[in-house]
């Protein structure tokens, strides 16, 4: 498949391998947002006129699309947020802050993104809960055995990414959730790196909460989703109050909020972003999530096969379950590799990828990360591999 016609950014001569950070946007997404601004630019849930009604319909239609996309049971379980980070903060501050007691335990892992660590750390500081880590095996995977070993009487929540952003391992969320629930433990899933790349089914996995961002799935920035089971979202305290979420407020003692989902969507939302997200979902569906997952696996296997042939390259995750491959060039600092590749218009990420605690597990602080998406190609990988195969050239040109 050639996606050049779909994505303006694929015609810029840039080879983009930083899809873990954000993805390119197809014309259908850009155009749908443009259309909103040019043809029916009005607010939602307010107007008594045609173009506002059109916004209302679009706004709620995207909610249905998201519901289908992750197979939620009810549309009220889909809440618009700014992104995965905001959704995770809402889950922690709006829900768990109210039910956890000092000494209760949350389990995460060393390979979580900062957005799935710091809200818990904050709660630990303010509420005296404990944050502990499920150990990873030699290939940085979570095993059910390790989950079983880690859960104690104090454990109330497991909060993990379905796919991590550094070593690209996929967790068996269904199996983990089944066990966690048998122990009365909630499961929060950070879907930032998974929802874009493989089929998500919140009913099949039975998870309690899910957070993800549109911009990592061909959609716009500034919009994401909080999914929660209805009975749990009912208990989630709005972090924001104000317009759009209230029923009436005649006096301090007579404040009434709306029902879900609007209760958790205070203020004018990112309407263009929501419309763009809807188009992104249509676009991904037209390609097929299974197809996307398969294509990425083929590409990352090919990349690993090629990189393994180079003596001076040390691959951190030989067995990624996704399109994320982290490595180092012997004797060259990760950032210097990125600067070198940038000279050839190749975008890769150097650093700790916001998973700062991972250094405890993999022993190196910084890596070069290639994160692939379905629109990457073998010939792009060949170009990368060719540039990395000559260490002297890297040393010469990195400065």
């Amino acid at each position: 498949m050639n996606y050049k016609d779909d994505f303006p950014m694929l015609n810029t001569g840039i080879i983009y391998f930083d899809n873990g950070a954000t993805t390119f946007k197809p014309n259908v997404v850009i155009d749908s947002m443009d259309e909103y601004y040019k043809e029916y630019s009005a607010n939602a849930h307010r107007g008594d006129y045609d173009i506002s009604l059109k916004v209302d319909v679009a706004y709620e239609k995207v909610r249905d699309k998201v519901k289908e996309f992750i197979n939620a049971k009810r549309r009220e379980e889909i809440i618009y947020t700014k992104g995965a980070t905001e959704a995770l903060n809402m889950i922690v501050e709006g829900f768990f802050a109210n039910i956890l007691e000092p000494g209760d335990e949350v389990l995460i892992t060393n390979s979580e993104h900062a957005s799935n660590i710091l809200p818990w750390y904050k709660l630990a500081k303010n509420k005296g809960i404990d944050v502990n880590f499920i150990p990873l095996d030699e290939t940085f995977h979570i095993t059910l055995a390790n989950v079983k070993k880690s859960i104690t009487d104090k454990t109330k929540v497991i909060s993990i990414a379905e796919i991590t952003n550094v070593v690209g391992d996929a967790r068996d969320i269904k199996e983990i959730t089944e066990y966690a629930h048998s122990k009365g433990v909630f499961v929060v899933v950070d879907g930032a790196q998974s929802v874009a790349h493989k089929k998500t089914d919140v009913q099949a996995t039975d998870i309690d909460f899910l957070a993800f961002s549109a911009h990592k799935m061909c959609g716009p920035t500034g919009i994401g989703i909080l999914y929660g089971k209805k009975e749990l979202l009912e208990e989630l305290d709005p972090l924001y109050t104000g317009g759009g979420m209230n029923e009436s407020f005649d006096s301090i003692s007579e404040v009434y909020y709306k029902d879900l989902p609007l209760r958790l969507e205070a203020g004018t939302q990112n309407i263009a972003g929501i419309i763009g997200l809807g188009s992104a979902i249509d676009y991904l569906n037209s390609i097929g999530m299974d197809n996307i997952y398969y294509t990425e696996q083929q590409l990352s296997r090919y990349l690993i096969e090629q990189l393994s042939k180079i003596k001076h390259i040390d691959i951190i995750n030989m067995e990624p379950d996704s399109g994320i491959v982290s490595f180092n060039v012997d004797g060259v600092f990760a950032q210097d590799v990125a600067v070198y590749l940038n000279k050839y218009n190749i975008c890769v990420r150097a650093g700790n990828h916001c998973a700062k605690v991972l250094k405890n597990s993999i022993g190196v602080k910084n890596t070069v990360r290639v994160s692939l998406y379905f629109y990457n190609t073998k010939s792009e990988i060949d170009k990368l591999v060719e540039l990395l195969s000559d260490r002297d050239k890297i040393m010469k040109e990195m400065i």
């Binding site: 600092f333 950032q335 910084n366 040393m395 010469k396 400065i399």
Partner: protein, 142 residues
């Protein structure tokens, strides 16, 4: 400066950085890092009677940051605070493309074209941010 020579000096300082190590408790320790990238360096500075007697550094950083640190340390050891501040000022002016005094800078002149790579400017100036912190700390303690 001849580009080959420039590259050679930078790589030499990166591959064999001078004064790598940790200082003892009579040194002032500062950390310097870039929020936008991943460089992270600790500097240990020993002052005596307004003279920089010794500097050591440790940490993880890219070629430009490491080389810049190595070169800065070589140049600053033995300088008085005033001389050091003049050196630092000249270096920063060079990076910001202002008028500066190349004669002061010796080997640090290898970074005279770094302004062409905007994303590398912060790497070259990283150790300078650190030494300024250390000097301020010394002045406070005096």
């Amino acid at each position: 400066m001849d580009p080959e020579l420039r590259r050679e000096i930078i790589l030499d300082n990166y591959n064999n950085p001078q004064h790598k190590g940790k200082g003892t408790s009579n040194y002032i320790k500062v950390n310097t890092n870039n929020s936008s990238c991943i460089d992270n360096i600790d500097l240990w500075v020993l002052f005596e009677d307004n003279i920089i007697k010794d500097i050591k550094f440790d940490g993880e950083a890219c070629a430009i940051s490491t080389a810049s640190t190595s070169i800065m340390i070589k140049e600053l050891i033995g300088k008085s605070l005033d001389e050091a501040l003049r050196f630092i000022d000249s270096f920063e002016k060079m990076i910001d493309e202002e008028k500066y005094n190349p004669e002061l800078l010796n080997e640090a002149n290898v970074f005279d074209e770094i302004y062409k790579q905007a994303n590398r400017k912060t790497c070259a100036t990283l150790p300078y941010k650190g030494i300024i912190k250390a000097i301020e700390e010394y002045k406070k303690r005096r």
